[in-house]
């Protein structure tokens, strides 16, 4: 079974982002960039399937700037076999390449690469859209197992446990399928130095969006991006008695 894993280059989750003064977006110059955490989980899951003898090849793909090759190499160090960069200078966080356009690009690549399974993140931590996987399955007419915390594969039957608001839901999907990962699917490994070295020699293809027939004109224009209203906290109390008194008589919430 061949697996395609779409990954995204995003601001590292530890960075506290700042809004640009001209309100056009978020400051990305000189900010640490990483693989979207959910996508790292997706790569790890694919690698585990390969190690278990269930997957034959893992192809990672990203739509982004030239520098997104770094994230492809990171995925290769975890164990992906091959990489594809769909190179664009359009922003990929806000006001540029949107989830629908990403899904259309991925559809074109799926038709070319013919994977049996696509494993991807449930959400990018920059645009917080949580759309792309569901859109890709619609465009392909495939089944979808979103927010997965467990994936079991048996031939062309895929059993997915999903983290839903009411608890844990189990679905049976017919392959080919799209899986989107939740936090508890696995804990990605740290790549070891020899694996990082090996990753440098793996095949990485660069393609232009036009070659795939996709158009990145945004449907949503960004009117402005601002900071949220600042919350003024910082008040301390010195005892439980004082806390109870304040909650009753000052905040009046109990």
């Amino acid at each position: 079974m061949k697996i395609l894993v779409p990954i995204k280059r995003v601001v590292d989750y530890n960075v506290k982002v700042r809004v640009k003064a001209d309100q056009s977006g978020v400051e990305l110059a000189n900010v640490k960039m990483s693989v979207n955490p959910f996508d790292e989980i997706a790569v790890e899951e694919a690698v585990r399937l390969k190690e278990a003898g269930k997957a034959s090849e893992i192809v990672v793909v990203t739509i982004g700037p030239e520098k997104a090759q770094e994230q492809i190499r990171t995925a290769m160090a975890i164990g992906a076999d091959r990489g594809i960069l769909v190179k664009t200078d359009a922003p990929i966080d806000l006001g540029g390449v949107e989830p629908l356009a990403v899904a259309k690009t991925l559809k074109a690549l799926v038709e070319k690469e013919k994977p049996d399974l696509v494993i991807m993140g449930k959400q990018s931590i920059d645009d917080d859209s949580n759309q792309t996987g569901q859109m890709l399955s619609a465009l392909l007419g495939w089944s979808q197992g979103t927010f997965a915390s467990k994936v079991e594969i048996d031939g062309d039957a895929v059993k997915v446990t999903r983290e839903v608001d009411g608890g844990l839901e189990t679905l049976s999907l017919k392959a080919p399928a799209i899986i989107t990962t939740d936090l508890r699917l696995n804990e990605p490994r740290f790549a070891k130095l020899p694996d990082i070295m090996k990753a440098k020699k793996k095949e990485l293809e660069v393609v232009e969006p036009a070659a795939l027939g996709v158009d990145y004109t945004p449907r949503l224009s960004i009117v402005k991006v601002v900071e949220p209203p600042k919350r003024v906290g910082g008040g301390k109390v010195s005892s439980v008695d004082e806390l109870v008194d304040k909650l009753k008589n000052e905040a009046k919430v109990i």
């Binding site: 949580n130 759309q131 939740d182 009117v223 900071e227």
Partner: protein, 309 residues
């Protein structure tokens, strides 16, 4: 303009989040129709017809719609959507799962998790874990939108008398099937609509110790939440995670116990009216946003607080 709101329900009762989504529809202005798609869901359609301000209920009752499977539901929403200016769903795991699938079928770029309506084309939504608020204007002919419930008032569940129209399902895609739902039963209020939430983090140390959070929540009649670290460590179930990638809550009182205050956690609770933090580390970031911070050992403070309430 007419607006279709996709109701979330379990074939028996309509979820609160649907009432907040209808609240957002009111801000857009237009005739509001509600889709109740399910299996033996007549009771839900009847309830939807009574919601204040709803002009019409579309009822699709078929076995293959019983579990909200996106593969069966999205084609129905996409087909109906062509006759509306806006299609709204709650930003719950139900809405997040199905609406983007319908959006792609309609060739529409969905607007996720809106926190405000500016006008019929323009909306605010939090991005980057709530560290920025983007105002976006859509050029699509139909707007597909998921609604952040905590930012919109729920409409009254009573007061309306809409007609109910039966519509047919698009059939079973055969792509997926429902096996089971494991629910942690609880008599406590539902997390996202609770008035008081008590959340525990890694500081609790174990599943057994988490009982002190439950006692405090029960004393206050509140719901229980948790940080990702507490869920990952198995202290509580996944559906209690509050944050960027969990549930968003905005109760009148949020008590964070043994939670450091990572931005991903704050993203899910910083709109709470009053925030209390209990943590032994005086420099924990949670104190920067807490109205009342109490520095000390939670194993002493929480039982004492429970006693004194």
């Amino acid at each position: 303009m007419s607006i279709l709101v996709i109701a979330e329900h379990d074939n028996k009762t309509i979820a609160n989040a649907s009432l907040n989504a209808i609240g957002a529809a009111h801000k857009i202005h237009g005739d509001i129709h509600v889709l109740v798609a399910g299996s033996s869901c007549g009771q839900v359609a009847d309830a939807a017809a009574k919601i204040a301000g709803v002009a019409k209920v579309l009822k699709a009752d078929a076995p293959e719609l019983g579990h909200g499977l996106a593969e069966n539901l999205a084609p129905l929403i996409a087909d109906l959507g062509k006759d509306y200016s806006h299609v709204l769903a709650p930003s719950s795991t139900f809405g997040k799962n199905v609406l983007p699938r319908a959006a792609a079928l309609l060739d529409v770029q969905q607007i996720s998790d809106i926190s405000a309506v500016i006008d019929a084309d323009t909306f605010e939504r939090p991005v980057y874990a709530g560290n920025a608020i983007a105002t976006v204007k859509s050029s699509d002919g139909i707007k597909l939108i998921t609604v952040r419930g905590t930012n919109f008032d729920a409409v009254a569940a009573e007061g309306g008398s809409a007609e109910i129209e039966d519509i047919s399902s698009k059939g079973d895609s055969g792509l997926s099937s429902f096996d089971k739902l494991d629910v942690v039963e609880s008599d406590r209020p539902e997390l996202t609509s609770a008035n008081i939430v008590v959340s525990g983090g890694r500081g609790l140390g174990s599943k057994e110790n988490f009982a002190i959070i439950e006692k405090l929540a029960d004393k206050l009649g509140g719901a229980i939440g948790a940080s990702r670290a507490a869920v990952d460590a198995g202290y509580v179930a996944n559906d209690m995670q509050v944050g960027q990638t969990g549930k968003v809550v905005a109760p009148s009182l949020y008590i964070a116990v043994g939670i450091s205050g990572a931005i991903q956690h704050l993203a899910g609770m910083k709109d709470s009216k009053v925030i209390v933090a209990i943590n032994k580390d005086a420099d924990a970031p949670i104190f920067e946003i807490a109205d009342y911070g109490l520095v000390g050992d939670l194993f002493e403070i929480v039982p004492e607080l429970t006693d004194k309430l």
